[in-house]
């Protein structure tokens, strides 16, 4: 098509040259302009579908949302169209993040913020989403290209940077705080942050930002041997933060020594990553649209098809200062939370006929609240369900050094130390 248009332009040019009569030149120029317009249209790729103003439940072939809106008719979701109000930030657009982004885009999410500093490589082609012709593009640009084609209704923002550096972290936090999409939203500018990164450092950076901003987030991960993964919901102050305890990994369930780990730093499979992305986005939809049960932790062991679940309370001795502040706020807010819960229960009780649940209570059995403060001890997060192990050890405090030296040395001059090191370096 493009070649033909080019030839047509060429022909027009020679026609113009060969015409002795200048009166036709204007119309030939007009023709040429139209051909050029066609060429640029052709270059911009196949025509995109137009934006949709309202999500329709009408069942016709041309409605991109008919099958999603059917969730309402089936009684699963009360108000599906609310999804257009939500903003989700995805950190790490790799094997899990890119697929999660596509799923949310197809679900018609309001706005997606994408963070990654990597480029697409041929070595990524064993995973889903990216295509070979996108090699050497940044992952964020390539993702925006594909996602805006799939669903032009989604507002896409891309940030090509490393969030673990001081500068990158600042940009990350300020982008999460930006409320231009929905100015009257409470809290930050996003409803949920999804961590789809492949390393501990980046997870800790997301954890830091979310603890400081009191931002709910979900963590996801696939093991380096590609056979297990997990997702985890983190609500600052309410559930364990990522620094409360060393990270959990799903034990492979077979003799670790039989797993070859030499030679390669990480293996990956499209299957495991697709499963984990699916679990992550399912949990996200349940959280945002308020249906079903949102999982606090869900593991996936593909070798045994085993899915451990668990809950983790925050560690009162957590090394993260912002986490401790959120824990304190959560404790302070307990009476208000209880009152709200009671009011809700009472409202529900009004709906059921007023009669005692049990007429007599011969043994004086009563229900006690076990979600109080006394159960929030560090030991509670030390016992792990079967099939889960810690990835890193805790910092051990036993070797704590006497710090009597510290005050003496603290008045050293930084410049002087820098010069000393430079002198050694030269």
């Amino acid at each position: 098509m493009e070649v033909e248009l080019k030839e047509m332009l060429h022909d027009l040019e020679s026609l113009k040259q060969s015409l002795p009569d200048p009166s036709h030149r204007a119309s030939i120029d007009k023709l040429r302009l139209r051909v050029e317009q066609l060429t640029s249209l052709e270059k911009s790729g196949p025509a995109q579908r137009l934006k949709v103003k309202d999500m329709s439940a009408e069942v016709v072939d041309s409605n991109p949302y008919s099958r999603l809106m059917a969730l309402q008719r089936m009684g699963i979701v009360e108000n599906y169209e609310r999804i257009r109000e939500f903003s989700v930030a995805i950190v790490g657009i790799g094997g899990v993040g890119s697929v999660a982004a596509e799923m949310l885009t197809r679900c018609g999410i309001g706005r997606l913020l994408l963070y990654d500093y990597d480029k697409v490589e041929l070595a990524n082609m064993n995973r889903l989403f990216f295509r070979p012709e996108q090699v050497n593009m940044t992952k964020t640009d390539a993702a925006v290209q594909t996602l805006s084609d799939i669903n032009p209704d989604v507002v896409l923002e891309s940030y090509t940077m490393n969030i673990t550096t001081v500068q990158g972290f600042e940009t990350f936090v300020s982008s999460l705080k930006n409320k231009s999409f929905r100015p009257n939203k409470e809290g930050s500018g996003v409803d949920l942050v999804l961590s789809c990164v492949d390393n501990y450092e980046a997870r800790m950076a997301v954890n830091q930002a979310c603890n400081e901003m009191n931002q709910t987030w979900m963590e996801s991960g696939v093991s380096e041997d590609a056979v297990s993964g997990h997702i985890q919901l983190l609500i600052p102050g309410e559930t364990a933060c990522f620094a409360c305890a060393p990270p959990l990994v799903v034990a492979s369930g077979i003799d670790e020594r039989t797993l070859k780990r030499e030679g390669v730093c990480a293996a990956s499979l499209p299957t495991t990553m697709g499963v984990v992305a699916g679990l992550l986005v399912q949990n996200t939809l349940k959280f945002l649209l308020n249906f079903g049960q949102v999982s606090p932790y869900l593991g996936y062991n593909s070798l045994k098809d085993y899915f451990p679940t668990m809950e983790m309370k925050p560690n009162p001795q957590c090394s993260n200062v912002a986490c401790l502040e959120r824990q304190q706020e959560y404790i302070v807010a307990k009476p208000a939370r209880d009152a709200a819960l009671k009011a809700k229960m009472e409202a529900e009780a009004l709906l059921v006929p007023d009669c005692p649940l049990h007429a007599d209570n011969e043994w004086s059995i009563s229900v006690v609240d076990d979600s109080g403060l006394d159960s929030m001890d560090a030991a509670s997060s030390d016992t792990l369900p079967e099939g889960l192990v810690r990835e890193l050890p805790s910092a051990d405090k036993s070797q704590e050094l006497p710090t009597s030296e510290a005050p003496l040395t603290s008045n050293d001059d930084l410049e002087d130390l820098r010069r000393q090191l430079e002198a050694l370096n030269s």
Binding site: T164, Y200, G263, Q399, T403, A406, Q420, L421
Partner: protein, 174 residues
């Protein structure tokens, strides 16, 4: 620390430990931490020099001390192989270790992540986590980078992935 050679162990015990737990966003406390980093780097460099085992140069390339650049080298079959060394201090430091980068070796070995970040997962990360916040940059070099170079440089040289700089020049001349 099982499985580490006695030399590394004895060197490690002589590198001053750090006490301040602070990252680059912590203001004055970070300056205090930075002083401790300098002291332990100075002590480690001096120790290497006096033991005739000098193997790196590193200095902060910004006043905040969050970006570090320098060189490291390894001697294999009596030839010295030198590489650029760089890393950033992450915002979550010292809970997370710096990710040491050898950009010239990017793509030449599987024991490396994107951008030339050396793989530290198995041999170093657990030690760092266990010793937070007492370990600093000097410890990361001693326990993270040194063993990586000792394991990887011989393989890289023997497989022809890297050439000694004299070999490289003679081969272009002939």
């Amino acid at each position: 620390m099982e499985g580490w050679d006695p030399n590394t162990k004895s060197t490690l015990t002589q590198i001053p430990l750090l006490t301040t737990k602070a990252g680059p966003r912590d203001g004055a406390v970070w300056t205090q931490r930075l002083k401790e980093e300098y002291k332990s780097l100075i002590a480690y460099t001096q120790m290497n020099k006096s033991n005739d085992n000098d193997w790196f140069r590193i200095s902060a390339s910004n006043p905040e001390g969050t970006r570090w650049t320098g060189k490291c080298w390894y001697v294999h079959n009596l030839l010295k192989y030198e590489f650029d060394l760089q890393f950033d201090i992450p915002v979550t430091y010292p809970s997370t270790a710096p990710e040491l980068e050898l950009p010239q070796l990017d793509g030449k070995t599987q024991k490396m992540y994107r951008g030339g970040k050396i793989c530290l997962t198995v041999h170093f990360k657990p030690l760092w986590a266990k010793n937070c916040p007492r370990f600093g940059i000097a410890h990361a070099l001693c326990l993270g980078l040194a063993p990586w170079l000792a394991a990887e440089v011989p393989i890289l040289v023997d497989s022809g992935m890297i050439k000694h700089k004299d070999d490289a020049t003679t081969s272009t001349e002939t």
